[in-house]
Symmetry: C2
Subunit: 272 residues, 2 copies
């Protein structure tokens, strides 16, 4: 009696479209096609952290499952941080994945030690120039201005963490001559899997007096190749493109969302 005859996915024979993933893809696509006309890399990343109300407590909304907040309607801030114990937990999890051979594509790994210094950008206090150097060799890795295009906050009431999707434009600029207003040191474990990199970073901030003020533990998933992202975005839904090219952007975002979700669901309760 408990044996169920094979079921169709639905009366239409298909699974209804995943509304959540489509919303994220539409958002990222809109940010890309409406971005300022400046040379630079489009960065798409998902940060794992906590949505906090102004009083500091975790955001509480009357819903039972993961959902996307409507921008500018909820008074909260996103905190991209976790405890050292949680950081260790993810480190173990990702290291296990790296050495496990049963998981399909291999994970590559790099341990990076970087120093960012921030400099005023022509009198504009908000638009800072970021210079990234290799800590050991002092070689300049990157000089750029990061322009925020948009964010979506994802509330995840069943899990120990929330997440945020951010789209930024990283515009390369000349090495600044002004002194740094502050610096931060990044001890980053970078796990690379197919088109994504997962960065587990300990960030130590230092103000202009050289006083270490804060240590943060960050976890983010990033789309590795901005040029692939833009190329797939350009072909999205193009009826003249072959089907695989037309769908490539949505496939890329689907795997991106899946990876962010898997990290969030593996957050354990030593988050706070």
């Amino acid at each position: 009696m408990s044996s169920l005859p094979p079921l169709s996915l639905s009366i239409l024979g298909v699974e209804p479209l995943d509304e959540f993933i489509k919303e994220i893809a539409d958002f990222i696509h809109h940010m890309i096609i409406s971005r300022p006309d400046l040379p630079g890399k489009v960065e798409v990343e998902a940060k794992i952290g906590l949505l906090r109300e102004r009083n500091g407590g975790r955001l509480l909304l009357p819903v039972l499952v993961e959902t996307i907040l409507r921008p500018d309607t909820v008074d909260c801030r996103f905190e991209s941080n976790m405890t050292a114990a949680q950081h260790k937990h993810f480190n173990t999890l990702l290291n296990n994945l790296k050495t496990s051979s049963q998981r399909g594509s291999p994970l590559d790994y790099a341990h990076l030690y970087l120093v960012d210094s921030f400099h005023a950008s022509g009198g504009n206090e908000r638009e800072k120039i970021r210079v990234t150097r290799d800590e050991k060799t002092d070689a300049v890795v990157e000089v750029m201005k990061k322009i925020r295009l948009g964010d979506l906050n994802i509330y995840s009431p069943k899990r120990c963490a929330d997440w945020r999707v951010s789209v930024n434009l990283e515009v390369p600029v000349a090495l600044p001559t002004d002194p740094a207003t502050h610096t931060r040191r990044k001890d980053r474990m970078k796990y690379m899997h197919e088109e994504f990199s997962i960065d587990l970073t300990q960030v130590t901030s230092t103000n202009s007096n050289g006083v270490s003020s804060e240590i943060l533990h960050e976890l983010e998933v990033e789309i590795s190749r901005p040029e692939l992202l833009l190329a797939t975005a350009a072909k999205r839904g193009d009826i003249n493109a072959p089907e695989n090219e037309r769908n490539a952007f949505d496939e890329l975002i689907r795997a991106f969302v899946n990876n962010a979700r898997i990290l969030v669901r593996n957050a354990n309760d030593s988050w706070h």
Copy 2:
């Protein structure tokens, strides 16, 4: 450049579990195993309608995609009704599906004309006895008390309609001798597909003075075989059961949710 190499579903090689469908399945399962110990049929249905705030407007929450409301935290009511035009739209859609041969399993169809009369149940005003008769033959089809076990409201901000999952226990009782407090006539088009029935019903209510007071248009999806539902629920997650039996309950609920979603997404904007 826009050609994307084949991607794994995620760093774990799998799609993360659908949190939404699991929440609905957990809820229905909990209602089933914690139900009162009375003989009767467990009814699981999804009604398509609108979540309204007390002022009558549609519920507005600061989220972008379909989500499940936490019970008893949002002051709203669910209205199981639609316009006659919307009713016609679904009728056309389901009729097309019935005659289309490309959709896998066929849809069966029945047009039912039923009359429900409601009677007091031993002094208890809230627990009414419902007698259902065939309108043409006056034959009694069913006599029962419906006990509400629980509801989940689904808010669907991208669509023209919301939905509600209800679990009830229908307990058979003796034909009452008290007069009816009110009656309603149901003109129902019943579409049957595999383990589900989709009922598109025009309900005309009449009070005890015989005055027709209200016409409602309802749409609901129901799990057709309560005995199958209970049998699969009993085996859910049972490590001693074969895998297909262990997963049958969740498969059944997945198709149930898919069907409800497909109806909601086909609601057009003549809803109000």
